[in-house]
């Protein structure tokens, strides 16, 4: 994206538009850990040389750095997905007490419908719980404007400001009119212990300040242009925020709307005014009844939405059903293809061996979570970042005689697996942890991390040495193995499982999407195939079964990793690597 162009229309995603708005507002420091659907915010900001952008080690670190920079005097931004903000809850809750000096915007992207997440929590409650103002744009163009307003609110009211997007806003694209960057002069950092040292005495005073601030923010909410009444036919009045506004405007073009660009704190007078004008008051919102509860708490007569609407994302065709007080219909996703690990994925080799050895696997968050799906079905738990390490400890404590393995990716291990590993060493638990080091943060689209030795701008930095780190944590046996070397991998796994003590096996091979090397693809000898179906168990997208039960090898998808060759018991799949090497030598 071109820097500094003004008054120009660009087709921008919600994430890119938000980043562009922050850039125009003079943001200086921006921190995030990648997570769908939020990743492109920092990727966009890193494209501007004026912005000091970073992939932080995890979200807690990201928010602390951004808060420190805001207190230190420059406009700052934090971005993550909803579950990422959970990791940063500790600094977030007290950031409301200390406030800021220059503006701090905390962007959170929720994922209703769980397109790429482990839960569909509704982060609007965090604003209520954390006593922070929350803006919620409905579209990319609004994301571009709202983030600039968020900086004004942040500095005027001395508070971090939450901006919430959902997948359908973050990954929508719209023509957005961009502007130029307005530089904001850095403020100096003033030592102010009463404000920045949150010991009980100071904290208590700041809590009182926070409550007063919320009252001021309530008054702001009454007069801000981000909340507005669009008066139409008053037989139906719809209170709505976020992307649901866009769906509802099309479904009920003639109705009256109260569009809440700021769902917290709620503008009570405006809501009462609106409720007084309309015959029927209906709240339309995705996930939890956040607005509905707030409106009801004011004593206003609002219709109760059927509980089935708390689950899943809204679609435009749902709006009339909500208005008609009907439950959510069952939606048929039959026939949609499920995602699988790519052809050539090094993880597939690891899970094949784990499955073959009938090991129970505590999993983690990453592409490798896809190994949970049948036919591979070789990953048995997945809760949150870092739990591959800690869940295996818990499982072992509950079932001391069983064989458990913990699996975690390189980026996830650095994010929050290290603490679990130290815990396992400190509390003397046996076990085997596999770090699947594919040299990138693959699931979110190939972001660098401390173990890759490259920063967000692609510049070299000091590489974190995973094996040295594990040894420094007190793990005595640390093996590094190429997962394509199936025999070594299996032999090492068995040996470590039989031993006492805690061991780490680092399976190291770069993600196929990173290297994209195509090797000669195997030859299929139909006459040798006994239709045993073992090669189909590896869940490779290049392999399928034809009508007669023989194998179809998709030559466009296959990249020649040869795992199918290695698992075929009847030599019906034959490697062409050597043949090719022979020709070229």
């Amino acid at each position: 994206m071109a820097r500094g162009k003004t008054g120009k229309k660009e087709l921008l995603s919600g994430n890119a538009a938000l980043a562009r708005g922050a850039y125009e507002a003079g943001v200086k420091v921006a921190c995030a850990y990648p997570g769908t659907p939020s990743t492109e915010i920092l990727e966009t900001l890193a494209g501007f040389p004026e912005v000091d952008a970073q992939w932080s080690v995890n979200e807690k670190v990201a928010l602390e750095v951004a808060l420190g920079a805001a207190v230190g005097g420059v406009r700052s931004l934090y971005a993550s997905k909803h579950v990422g903000l959970n990791v940063a809850m500790d600094p977030l809750m007290t950031s409301a007490y200390v406030g800021v000096s220059a503006g701090l915007v905390v962007v959170v992207c929720d994922d209703p419908g769980m397109h790429s997440s482990q839960n569909e929590q509704d982060t609007r409650w965090v604003a209520l719980y954390g006593k922070l103002p929350l803006l919620e744009p409905s579209s990319p163009a609004e994301a571009h404007l709202f983030v600039q307003e968020a900086y004004r609110i942040s500095e005027r009211y001395d508070t971090p400001v939450l901006v919430r997007l959902t997948t359908r806003v973050a990954h929508a694209k719209e023509d957005v009119t961009t502007g130029g960057r307005r530089e904001v002069a850095p403020k100096s950092f003033n030592i102010d212990a009463a404000k920045y040292v949150m010991v009980p005495r100071n904290g208590m005073r700041r809590h009182a300040v926070l409550e007063q601030r919320l009252e001021k923010l309530r008054r702001y909410a009454e007069q801000t242009a981000v909340n507005r009444i669009e008066e139409g036919d008053n037989t139906l009045g719809i209170v709505v925020s976020g992307v649901a506004y866009l769906y509802a405007r099309e479904a009920y073009p003639d109705a009256s709307f109260l569009k809440l660009g700021m769902p917290h704190p709620l503008p009570e007078r405006l809501l009462r005014d609106f409720a007084g004008r309309v015959e029927r008051l209906v709240v339309i919102e995705e996930l939890d009844p956040f607005l509905e509860e707030g409106v009801r708490a004011m004593g206003l007569d609002v219709e109760r939405r059927h509980v089935s609407w708390r689950v899943g994302e809204l679609r435009p065709e749902d709006i009339p059903l909500i208005v008609k007080r009907r439950p959510r219909p069952r939606r048929d996703r039959a026939g949609a293809r499920r995602p699988v690990m790519c052809a050539g994925c090094p993880h597939r080799f690891v899970f094949w061996i784990l499955r073959k050895n009938k090991v129970t696997v505590a999993g983690d968050i990453g592409c490798y979570t896809l190994a949970a799906a049948p036919p591979l079905a070789a990953l048995h738990t997945c809760v949150c970042m870092g739990a591959g390490v800690t869940f295996q400890e818990g499982l072992r404590r509950a079932q001391p005689g069983e064989r458990f393995v913990g699996v975690v990716g390189d980026s996830t291990f650095v994010h929050s697996g290290i603490t679990g590993l130290i815990n396992a060493v400190y509390n003397r638990i046996d076990g085997v942890i596999l770090i699947l080091d594919n040299a990138t943060t693959a699931m979110t689209g190939m972001q660098d991390n401390p173990a890759t030795g490259t920063n967000i701008r692609g510049e070299p930095t000091r590489r974190l040495d995973l094996e040295e780190l594990c040894r420094a944590c007190g793990v005595e046996s640390v093996d590094v193995i190429d997962p394509e070397d199936l025999e070594s991998l299996e032999e090492t796994l068995k040996r470590r499982l039989d031993e006492k003590g805690l061991s780490v096996i680092i399976t190291r091979r770069p993600c196929w999407q990173l290297v994209r090397t195509r090797r000669p693809i195997p030859e299929y000898l139909r006459e040798k195939c006994r239709k045993c179906g073992i090669c189909l168990q590896i869940d490779c997208p290049a392999l399928s079964e034809d009508e007669e039960g023989f194998i179809k090898l998709d030559e466009d998808i296959c990249v020649g990793c040869d795992l199918c060759v290695k698992v075929c018991p009847f030599d019906a799949l034959v490697s062409r690597w050597k043949e090719e090497a022979g020709e070229h030598s």
Binding site: L11, T36, A172, K173, E174, R315, E317, G335
Partner: protein, 173 residues
Amino acid sequence: MSTAEIYSVLFCGIGGQGVLKAADILGEAAMDAGWHVMKSEVHGMSQRGGSVESHLRFGSGVFSPLIACGKVDFLVPFDGAEARRLRQCLARRGIDLGVYIERALGEVSHKRFLNTWMLGVLSVFLPIDESVWLSALEKVLRYALKENRQAFVAGRWAAKQNGTRQGRRHGGT
């Protein structure tokens, strides 16, 4: 509100077929033609072989980035199974361009130009000048621009040859 001025296009296929890229090209073209554009897509799993759809709407009075089921004016599928799955979302007078997939695969020099060939077909049905389309291709595509342009022009020619009534109307009269 009249929806007469809104064009709702649903692109679908599987990861790696260029579904999102095709929608981006239409988005840029529609924007350059002076329309308000709203597009929706879901990233994250797109490179993992899963189903991928992208909704693109342009015109006057567009709000929603998603097309309500039953309101798709043009279904642009790159995969037969995905086309069958999503055909139910077509409007009564909506047009399914899936009938062109086979011909497209026979004509393109490589599968990866299927998306621009199909865009060529779609272009005949939309109020956007060819020159605007070609500059949108240039804006969005980083490589193989020549091959993509050829595929686009070939698809456009094929559709013109058939006339714009050749897309299969769905569930109509």
